[in-house]
């Protein structure tokens, strides 16, 4: 095609195939294989740790954790909320921005969606693991049974069940539908028979015909339209897990928006981190450009400031109402034995964030990564704080208690991060196009078209 470089169309094609090459080389001829192998090995160890923790838990009961009365819920539920939260960014970036036709999303959406998927899987595991009788988890589902028993639909946990399940299905569909054209590319580029069959099956016979594209466009956009309200509804619902309980520190109408924003905030933070790492690891500066980092930084800053407003609103609520129990909880958060989680959340979520007011900081990958990390930890602390500081001292002074996660709780969490979150993600970047090649090409084409139209 070198003779046709002057022609604008062939130039585009050349550029397009460069993009494809750049992206597709990752799964096909994996660069820096030993790094990946090392990471994979480490993650496998974490998976083993996770499995051991689960076996210990299942053999002995929830008692191996640090949960007590009054802190019935511990790390399990705060991690559940944390994982669902970070999942939100994927859907937000992919679906919302797809519908808004924001082209820049195309560099980020694929791995953000993959991240969403693994995060929701992690989140979904926790409520089952934390059950006293985990082998009866399916009783949460409305299934036909001889006793005509249904779930109790007033319970936020029942809604949780539906929310997480719906979210899992929709994010999977959205991720997979978006992947199909690129899977076909992979199929076409696969050198070995195994790869050809693997990608061939997954590509569902995609040939790139106009009709395919039309159908694909329809289904992709419809799924996106379904996914967008989920972003708001799922985490609003999860906030009701707390807000519906008549416990000081939980019963608050500010919780749904507060949770949704917090979720988006933590999600963008994780996406920023992944973007920076992938960009560095695979030299993708041309695709994940400074502009992307800049936009991510702006989103992070916006969500962060709104979350900070949530903090202020919460304090205002408690002070304005002036209920003794609410004030007590507020002061417990400020000064109690778990004050570190409150101040940790406030500081990590607010202070480093302020650097993002400067563009130089936004486009500088290291700062963006560190701020993303800080926010991720901060948001984790916030979930922990909301749960523990509320429960450990609720109404009756006599039932005050304390909570510290046990070894097996930490091992499960760490094992889960490495083995259930990172491991599938590693597999994903190893075997699937981590960035949507065809969408980048499409957007480049459209952008150029627009420019030429000027």
């Amino acid at each position: 095609m070198s003779e046709a470089v002057d022609h604008p169309g062939s130039q585009r094609r050349a550029e397009g195939s460069r993009v494809t090459r750049q992206i597709m080389r990752i799964p096909t001829r994996y660069p820096g294989k030993w790094v990946w192998d090392l990471c994979f090995l480490i993650c496998l160890c974490f998976l083993v740790l996770f499995l051991v923790s689960v076996v210990i838990l299942f053999r002995n009961g929830v008692g191996v954790w640090g949960n007590t009365i009054p802190v019935n819920w511990g790390l399990a539920i705060s991690n559940y909320i944390f994982f669902v939260g970070i999942g939100h960014a994927g859907t937000l970036i992919s679906a919302m921005l797809l519908l808004l036709n924001e082209h820049w999303r195309n560099a980020l959406n694929r791995f953000a969606e993959a991240m969403t998927l693994v995060a929701v899987i992690c989140a979904g595991l926790y409520p089952i693991l934390h059950l006293g009788r985990f082998w009866r988890f399916y009783w949460m589902a409305p299934y036909p049974n001889t006793m005509d028993l249904w779930p109790q639909f007033k319970s936020p946990l029942t809604w949780d069940f539906f929310a997480v399940l719906t979210y899992l299905i929709v994010s999977f569909l959205f991720w997979y539908i978006g992947l199909v054209p690129d899977l076909a590319t992979m199929r076409d580029r696969a050198k070995k028979r195994g790869g050809q069959v693997f990608y061939g099956v997954l590509a569902l016979g995609w040939r790139g015909s106009a009709r395919h594209w039309a159908r694909w466009n329809q289904s992709y956009r419809i799924t996106a339209a379904i996914a967008v309200p989920l972003v708001v509804s799922v985490h609003s619902e999860i906030s009701l897990l707390f807000a519906a309980g008549p416990i000081p520190g939980w019963t608050s109408t500010v919780f749904p928006p507060y949770f949704v924003l917090g979720a988006a905030f933590s999600g963008f933070a994780v996406v920023s981190m992944i973007a920076v790492v992938l960009r560095f690891a695979f030299r993708l500066e041309e695709i994940v450009t400074d502009r992307h980092l800049d936009l991510l930084g702006q989103l992070l800053l916006a969500c962060g400031m709104m979350t900070a407003f949530g903090y202020v609103a919460e304090i205002f609520d408690a002070l304005y109402a002036g209920e003794k129990q609410d004030l007590q909880t507020l002061f417990d958060r400020f000064t109690g034995e778990n004050a570190w989680s409150y101040w940790g959340a406030v500081i990590l979520n607010f202070l480093p964030l302020q650097l993002l007011w400067w563009k130089r900081m936004r486009i500088f990958p290291v700062t963006l990564f560190l701020i993303g990390l800080s926010v991720t930890v901060g948001m984790w602390l916030e979930r922990y704080m909301l749960l523990v500081t509320t429960l450990y001292r609720d109404y009756l002074v006599s039932s005050y208690g304390s909570y510290a996660p046990s070894f097996w709780e930490w091992s499960l969490f760490i094992g889960m991060i490495g083995g259930v979150f990172l491991l599938p993600f590693l597999l994903f970047i190893r075997f699937f196009p981590a960035i949507s090649a065809f969408e980048i090409k499409e957007s480049q084409f459209e952008d150029q078209g627009e420019r030429q139209g000027d």
């Binding site: 006293g132 009788r133 109790q152 897990l241 002074v397 006599s398 039932s399």
Partner: protein, 983 residues
């Protein structure tokens, strides 16, 4: 380490020693003293016993259960072998009216510190599953304390001694009989020279008869008695005033004004139920406006009585003589010159004196029976002056048999043992090696006795130092008789045949007298009563067994003439320097006799809420001065003796007072080494109080386990109070809370509970009743430390105000059975649901353990099965379970059900008879046990029911009313007499 491991480890030693022992045993058992000299014997003892105790300090439930199971398995027996005793329980013959699965009740009694505690034993197919109070018994009137209820677990305790032992090694009853017959024939020749018998407090007429027969046969023999917590000072006081030792009997139902000088009238002990019942009668009358109920207490450390008191004065132990003397002077009883009082003390004494004057003949001044005889004597004289004698206070000759050496019986015995005048010592049912004052060096003296015989429920410290150990029957599996604190005799009949090859104390005594196991225990008891009852024997016997006591067998309380009014208080200066140590019986394991009882070990102590151990209780001021916090290790030194324990700060304790509780720190047994042994500090001349002790920090931190880390009410109104003066015109405390929802429909009957905080004394009887009724598992020290105790009903203890002199209160908290229950809304699987009769149900089968209900519960009354708490129980413990109550699986939530099994039982009965459930037909376990009738339960739709009448009172309020859960359990506010008392 479990006892299984311990036993297997000690196997080799057993084998060699065992062979040796059998050889010697077969030929010359009388040369046992040789054994002592041999190193092998000592090694055997050491190898055998100390190692049985779990090595770990913190015994956890699992190892406890393993140990329980193991000891049972090793014995080759199961609880299933227990069957009904035919003579007591006609069940085996399937008599008319008997139905499988229907409980039968048998009236009997168990002892606490020697006194009968009357019970109804509930049995299913011959298995006792619950002990209830005996409503017609004059002393208890249906109430029952925690100790008595926990005796049930004592019966099933697999760690009980199960076979006779000779020098620590399992032997046989035939060997025992050979030994005792031979020794008896030797004693016959010498007239019992050198034979001594040591028992605990002895109220059994049969045992008294047997002992007096023995003493008649062996004139040179002597009987001694030892009770760790005794009445020696009281007896000395009555001897001072009336010329002879007497027991006092308080009529608290008549005492409108009580002034108590560190006398824990409502506190734990054999008299608790009787006195609490009397006090609550008075209190309820005062609530109705019939007379007063004023309680003035001066005490150095909070007690149940002090917390119930309207006017509590914190006084150092050394101040009591001054206080009593001042009160005496104020009331015109000559008490000699006294030093000055502080302003606070003066006000207290003055108010008390004024009220006592105003209520002459209806008042009572009491001085703790551990305080000096002179002070107690002075109090008796004050009562005489006020005309209270015969009204609120009367006397009988001691209910318990008085040993020949009087209250210094043990000291006399030890002296003789040291002097080599004791060749044979039989110790029955008491553990003097562990519980004798340390300066007696009982163990050392014991080693000088040629033949030492011990009989008891457990292989305890004394058993380890004796040649022979004979396992005794538990009272629930034996025939005997006992006197209650008022002197009423109960014929104790077995609820079940003995689980193991154990003998009753009567048979053991017969054996010691050289008679073999010929006569049955029942006949031994009958023989005692035959002369008295004569021709009416059969009728009397039958009615005694049916009623649970012998009517009219209590001695009539009398008021003997005062023979001496000159009481010299000694130096009434009241300014002891340094720290004063108080040694008290433990509120849950008493003098240590219940240290192997897991229910009582896990029962939170009423005031500190500590369980599975004891602590060194200090005042907040002292702790602040020495910069100690809870759990800091300290060494308590009194004279030569010292113990190491951990600090626990008790608000409301006198500044320089240190309190320790007896009964912990024992080496043997399943409960291992918990806490420290306060007996080490006891001296013959200072059994309960030692001045000038020192405390020094050891620098180590110990884990003290408590179920309630925080006691300060922090300005909340969980426990509400009203003034008695305002009672008549009181606006209802309960306010109508708004709701978006229509009021829940209620059918009749609809159940509700009312708890009168004005009557609750925080005694824990309800907690143990609930545990026993509802198969509530014990979880052990470690899990309690993590906040995982399983009690469905807890008794919260709060204090308010200045920690140095706070107001305190108790509040029992069962499930509130909210009409708008947050737990029901939270449960995703319909496991928490509301019943049509107003119960908040927990469907165990449906529960998957999300714990949402507990997170949402504002009262945190729900309990979760974090592990499998039930499957690993020993078979015998399983046999103890109430068959009417589901045993919960791992991973499900549980909570108070309002004893739904009792409700359903009544419903079925009513339905069969085609009628409504009658008022008072359903009595919850906690309600039945409560000695002060603080708990009322019934149909809230019936305006005439007791619970409705209570809920209609103005002082009825809901806990956390503002949460709008509309609880069915409500409280009645405490009534304060502050205004009335400040004249």
């Amino acid at each position: 380490m479990t006892s299984e491991q311990a036993l297997s480890r000690s196997q080799p030693a057993d084998k060699t020693q065992g062979a040796e022992a059998r050889e010697r045993n077969a030929s010359v058992w009388r040369s046992l003293d040789e054994w002592l000299g041999t190193k092998s014997f000592k090694a055997l003892l050491e190898a055998e016993f100390p190692s049985i105790a779990p090595a770990a300090d913190g015994i956890n439930r699992r190892s406890l259960l393993q140990a329980m199971g193991a000891s049972l398995a090793l014995a080759g027996l199961t609880g299933c072998s227990s069957t009904a005793d035919e003579t007591a329980l006609p069940y085996v013959e399937m008599p008319e009216g008997e139905t499988q699965g229907i409980a039968r009740f048998y009236a009997t009694a168990v002892s606490l510190a020697g006194y009968a505690q009357p019970v109804f034993g509930k049995t299913y197919s011959g298995r006792p599953v619950k002990l209830e109070g005996n409503a017609s018994h004059p002393a208890s009137r249906g109430a029952i304390d925690a100790f008595t209820q926990a005796a049930l677990l004592g019966l099933y305790d697999p760690s009980r001694s199960q076979a006779p032992r000779l020098v620590g090694e399992v032997s046989s009853w035939s060997a025992w009989e050979r030994a005792t017959v031979e020794r008896a024939s030797m004693l016959d020749r010498t007239g019992g020279e050198g034979f001594r018998l040591l028992t605990g407090r002895l109220t059994s007429p049969t045992l008294q008869r047997q002992i007096s027969e023995m003493m008649a046969r062996w004139p040179q023999a002597r009987w001694h008695s030892h009770e760790p917590v005794d009445d020696r000072a009281l007896h000395a006081a009555t001897r001072l005033v009336f010329g002879r030792p007497l027991d006092r009997h308080l009529r608290l139902d008549r005492a409108e004004v009580i002034v108590s000088f560190d006398d824990d009238l409502l506190g734990p002990g054999p008299r608790q139920v009787r006195q609490a019942k009397g006090w609550s009668d008075r209190r309820m009358a005062a609530q109705r406006g019939e007379g007063a109920s004023l309680l003035f207490v001066a005490e150095p450390t909070p007690s149940l009585t002090g917390i119930a008191a309207g006017d509590r004065l914190i006084a150092a132990p050394a101040r009591f003589s001054v206080l009593v003397a001042n009160l005496a002077n104020a009331l015109g009883v000559e008490a000699g010159s006294v030093s000055d009082l502080s302003e606070q003390e003066r006000r207290w004494v003055q108010t008390a004196a004024e009220r006592l004057q105003a209520y002459r003949g209806r008042a009572l001044v009491s001085v703790g029976t551990h305080l000096s005889p002179e002070m107690q004597a002075l109090a008796l004289l004050i009562n005489e002056r006020l005309g209270n004698l015969g009204q609120t206070l009367a006397f009988t000759t001691p209910i318990a048999a008085f040993p020949p050496d009087g209250d210094r019986s043990l000291e006399a015995l030890v002296e003789d043992m040291r002097g080599g005048r004791v060749s044979t010592l039989a110790i029955l049912g008491t553990d003097p090696v562990a519980t004798a004052p340390s300066d007696l060096s009982f163990a050392e003296a014991l080693d000088r006795v040629e033949l030492r015989i011990h009989a008891g429920l457990h292989v305890d410290a004394t058993a380890n130092r004796c040649h022979w150990h004979a396992p005794l029957q538990h009272e629930l599996e034996s025939w005997t008789d006992l006197r209650a604190v008022d002197g009423t005799v109960s014929i104790v009949q077995p609820l079940v045949k003995p689980f193991w090859s154990v003998r009753s104390i009567h048979t053991v005594l017969e054996n010691l007298g050289g008679r073999l196991n010929g006569v049955g225990d029942q006949d031994v008891v009958r023989k005692t009563w035959l002369p008295d009852w004569g021709i009416a024997f059969d009728a009397n016997w039958r009615s005694a067994l049916l009623e649970g006591f012998v009517a009219g067998s209590a001695p009539r309380p009398e008021v003997p003439p005062v023979v001496n009014r000159a009481v010299n208080l000694g130096v009434a200066q009241g300014q002891g320097g340094g720290l004063t140590l108080l040694i008290q019986p433990d509120p849950t394991i008493f003098d240590g006799r219940f240290s192997k009882n897991a229910w009582l070990q896990e029962l939170p102590k009423p005031i500190t809420k500590i369980c599975w151990g004891n602590a060194v209780l200090v005042s907040p001021a002292l702790a602040a001065e020495r910069q100690w916090t809870n759990g800091d290790g300290v060494r308590v030194s009194a004279g030569d003796a010292s113990v190491e324990g951990a600090i626990w700060i008790v608000p409301g304790q006198a500044r320089d007072t240190v309190v320790v509780h007896l009964g912990y720190g024992k080496q043997s047994g399943l409960a291992g080494k918990l806490g420290f042994d306060a007996y080490q500090l006891r001296r013959v001349d200072a059994l309960c109080q030692i001045a000038g002790v020192t405390l020094e920090a050891t620098g180590e931190k110990q884990t003290i386990v408590t179920t309630q880390p925080q006691h300060a009410m922090d300005g909340f109104d969980f426990v509400r109070k009203v003034q008695r003066a305002e009672l008549a015109a009181l606006e209802p405390l309960k306010t109508k809370q708004p709701s978006f929802y229509p009021a829940a429909e209620a059918s009749s009957p609809s159940w509700g509970m009312s708890i009168d905080l004005d009557l609750c004394i925080g005694c824990n009887a309800c907690v143990t009743a609930c545990q026993s009724e509802n198969n509530i598992p014990v979880v052990g020290k470690d899990l309690v430390a993590q906040g995982r105790e399983m009690h469905w009903l807890r008794v919260d203890h709060y204090y308010e105000g200045d920690p140095d002199d706070p107001d305190m209160a108790f509040q029992p908290v069962p499930c509130m059975h909210c009409e708008q229950a947050p737990c029901e809304m939270g449960c995703p699987v319909n496991a928490a649901v509301h019943s049509y009769d107003g119960l908040n149900l927990q469907v165990y089968n449906r529960c998957i353990g999300t714990r949402t209900c507990s997170s949402y519960c504002p009262y945190k009354v729900r309990r979760f099965n974090w592990f499998d708490f039930t499957q690993g129980d020993a078979e015998s413990v399983k046999a103890m379970r109430n068959p009417e109550v589901t045993v919960r699986q791992r991973g499900v939530m549980e909570k108070c059900t309002y004893c739904i099994q009792r409700i359903e039982g009544a419903r079925i009965q009513a339905k069969k008879e085609g009628r409504e459930i009658a008022e008072g037909e359903v009595v919850t376990a906690c309600q039945a046990a409560c000695p002060t009738t603080a708990i009322t339960f019934g149909n809230v739709m019936d305006n005439q029911s007791a619970v409705s009448r209570r809920k209609a009172e103005a002082r009825d309020y809901a806990l956390l009313e503002e949460v709008n859960t509309r609880p069915r359990t409500t409280y009645l506010a405490r009534i304060l007499d502050d205004e009335a008392q400040r004249i």
